[in-house]
Symmetry: D2
Subunit: 293 residues, 4 copies
């Protein structure tokens, strides 16, 4: 038989949909998470022998998530840290893992005490990768769709025999922002940090003329790192959601940037990673994250 090596593995329970209501007073509140727990460590025998002596059941991981939610969920990141501490503390052979959460945002309807609607335009994300003594906390969001109706162009690119695109200094720029940023500490007001980063990104999208999505993403990244000394790295993976100017000349109409066709596929796809100069990298923690270069 060939000689093979189990070079990496992780397993657990994915997408535990837990809703935690706070009802200490008549005015309720709620947190709505989608939590995934995956363990890493010495699981060799489960793979090679079918010996499950080390396999903390995925059902057990699920139960732990729901039981821990009983004590409250301060923030997605804090909740993931608690899970990591539990599993690495409880089981000798669990040396680390990957814990992730999505948070869905709700707002109160008018001023009612117990009624809410799902309001957030974006889904907030958090990933904690623990490898022995090292924690890497990566937060982010996806699904925030934004558009500039002007103040965007694309010129000066190389032309070859396959180039047909005309230059323009006035186009629609639209994208679904997907971003993740890496903290250099776990001692943090995560909710405050999230709001601040999101605000910087939104503002940078608006305030300057865009010569290309690359430039705009870079400006966002630079500002996020500049304004938050607890962030060392940020990644963006953003579609260029094309809004093509509708050619109405077939019926004798002009179209001075008024009517656009919003295309589905293909789309541009722009991805970039920006780091604080001199900060240590953490490539292993990013393995398995889709769509980031």
């Amino acid at each position: 038989m060939v000689d093979v090596t189990l070079t990496s593995n992780q397993y657990g329970k994915a997408e535990n949909r837990v809703v935690r209501v706070t009802r200490d007073t008549d005015r309720h509140d709620l947190v709505d998470l989608n939590v995934t727990s995956q363990l890493r460590g010495d699981f060799e025998a489960a793979h090679t022998e079918g010996d499950n002596a080390h396999v903390v059941a995925t059902d057990t991981q699920k139960n732990t998530i729901f039981a821990f939610a009983r004590d409250g969920i301060a923030s997605p990141e804090a909740f993931l840290l608690r899970l990591a501490d539990h599993f690495t503390g409880e089981f000798d052979w669990v040396s680390g893992g990957r814990w992730a959460a999505e948070e869905f945002g709700w707002s109160r309807i008018n001023d009612y005490d117990h009624s809410f609607y799902r309001s957030a335009s974006e889904t907030r994300t958090a990933v904690l990768v623990r490898d022995g003594g090292t924690d890497t906390m990566i937060s982010g969001f996806y699904g925030l769709t934004v558009m500039k109706t002007t103040q965007s162009g694309f010129v000066g690119y190389p032309k070859d025999k396959y180039t047909a695109l005309p230059e323009t200094e006035d186009r629609i720029l639209a994208t679904d922002i997907a971003t993740r940023w890496r903290y250099n500490t776990t001692d943090l007001d995560y909710d405050g940090a999230y709001d601040s980063v999101k605000n910087v990104i939104m503002t940078k999208f608006c305030e300057r003329y865009s010569k290309g999505l690359q430039q705009t993403l870079y400006q966002m990244a630079e500002a996020v790192i500049a304004d938050h000394d607890f962030i060392d790295e940020i990644k963006f993976s953003c579609p260029n959601k094309h809004h093509f100017l509708s050619d109405l000349s077939f019926c004798g109409l002009d179209n001075p940037n008024l009517v656009f066709y919003a295309a589905d596929r293909p789309y541009g796809l722009i991805e970039a990673t920006i780091c604080r100069a001199g900060a240590p990298s953490a490539d292993q923690a990013w393995m398995g994250v889709a769509g980031f270069c």
Copy 2:
């Protein structure tokens, strides 16, 4: 050969994604629609003979939509009426049709003139069915997810040998509201009507104890019809999105309505149609609409 009859048919171009920017001043605005146009009338020969002499090409229908958007989009409903007038006016054999639109809502980012984010929690819908001289305009929305963390129960239902559900006077009630209402006029401020109906529905969800989703939907329906004399009928098709109380007794914890598991499938499905007493029905206009009884 057997004798068969073409009892109904409609055809056209679906899901034309048109974005119309208003840029009369430096402060832009935008409308984002997904428009479907389908024609009805004398299309027998296309089916039986492959004779396309009456078949206004679906590509032509698409072009018309984009060309008409050049003149502006006052509201989804007004835009559908203009399309209907054009196609039934231009082609003798087109006696009616079905025109539909979805509208995706955008909001300005901060106070910037040209920057927007997709903000609406729900997708607004409009359908116009024209049958000869009769227009039926149906507006609505879907995707508005709401939750009551208390003030909801379910008791008093019949018990048989397959009944295992315990009664409760305090549960989470959550649903994705999907609703459509039928106007009895086309001479209307559609945007104002939409905002008003949505507000009534949201308010009714909050303000009373719910003995069941049926009761709550009925209260919404009654209030919508009472408050808007231009609406004759309203339908709801709403999942009961179960949030099951997590049983934590396996590890010795109680759970006084704090931790819930948000289930995917199966889900309750509650559907109802409520009409103004004495108003004429319009069943044919509802054919082809999913999920309404």
Copy 3:
């Protein structure tokens, strides 16, 4: 207060995912269904008063589905009939309802006794509508994607100022077939009928030149009704999935129907209902079915 009427309603448990294994011998088999049960009848008080005395809990409906599966699932249609008989038989005030199922097809892997893969290209559907003493059984499928690489054209359509489409006598024709047919009996070999109808539809797609999707759908419909005297009506709702010839002239290449761009949106949408001449119609049973005219 305004006077309103509850004109129709139905409620139940949707999307019960039940898998039934047959293991009478070492050679297993399985049926994989997604079952929805909705009751109709006297549920007025639940809506107007919140009185649930008639509301057979949706959880009870779910339990009944799983309990009945214990006895085996002969066919989706037979299973729906059994559910209908139970609910209308057991509860005086349940006068009818709507029961629906999707079936996902599996095939044996090689010749192994217990191993299967999900193989079916299409999803099979069944809907039973019972209204007092009348049963309407509608079967069908969706998601069967087919393509003709030639033997399809589109010519002879009217031209107006919005027409830009060139005529062609050789194009790709592609669609996702979604169809439902209505039986005029419930005493039937449903599995055999399904296979036969699907085979007729597939064959008709292939064997003749298509002058338009309307003609092709009509030919399918006519053949289905001609070949199956237990079918009175059939509906199709089919996208024209455009495969646009890629214009390669920008780089000096011709393209004799070799390279195509498969577009997402917009798409043509062709819908038709064909009935056996003289057969009674059953429009009420079709209410709530999406995408059929």
Copy 4:
């Protein structure tokens, strides 16, 4: 201002849906791909200055894909290699990139020359990462749903206070197989290799009792590497699609592994990477691939 570094970036056109028909004879054939092209190299100025002199437009990348398809598509992998050679050969500053394709499988309907249906249960994937002189070719598939109705159990796992799962030696095992494998050469019959790997994986799923999904995935991996000396590494990311035995005791029924509830979420998630012993690793090529540890 803070000092930041653009540590990595890639950009291009994603999801180009190209269909290539072969019509040299009356008997046609077709290839249906979803192609993504992303370039890497010296794109610093585009990010920091908005200087697009190096930015080969994503529209140009799209055009190149369609133009190259004119010459035929031997296999997804061969097509990606040709794109890589073109972009790195044509533009000095393009030092590499990431090219990816999905292939959708079609089969002939009966024996017709021009008619096909989309038949493949799985979607085939290919990714080529070029970094200077190094090519890494990764092929795979996703979406192959398989089930064992017996010959699977889960016992011997550790128990703690959060453990509630009972041991079982007879359960359903079901998963959606998602796998990618890395070739150690690009001089290969890719289609033959694909069929052979898929066959090994399917066979290994069937032939032995499974003590856990970990063991089964490892057996697949070991066999794939053993049987194909041109493969150095394989990854699996597979859900444990839970089929819970339906508890029918509420109505007095037993359930000897006959009726199961197919759950959606949460699900187990088992991921593993297995390498040929001594083979060089290629971690950088895997960056950005979702769901692999």
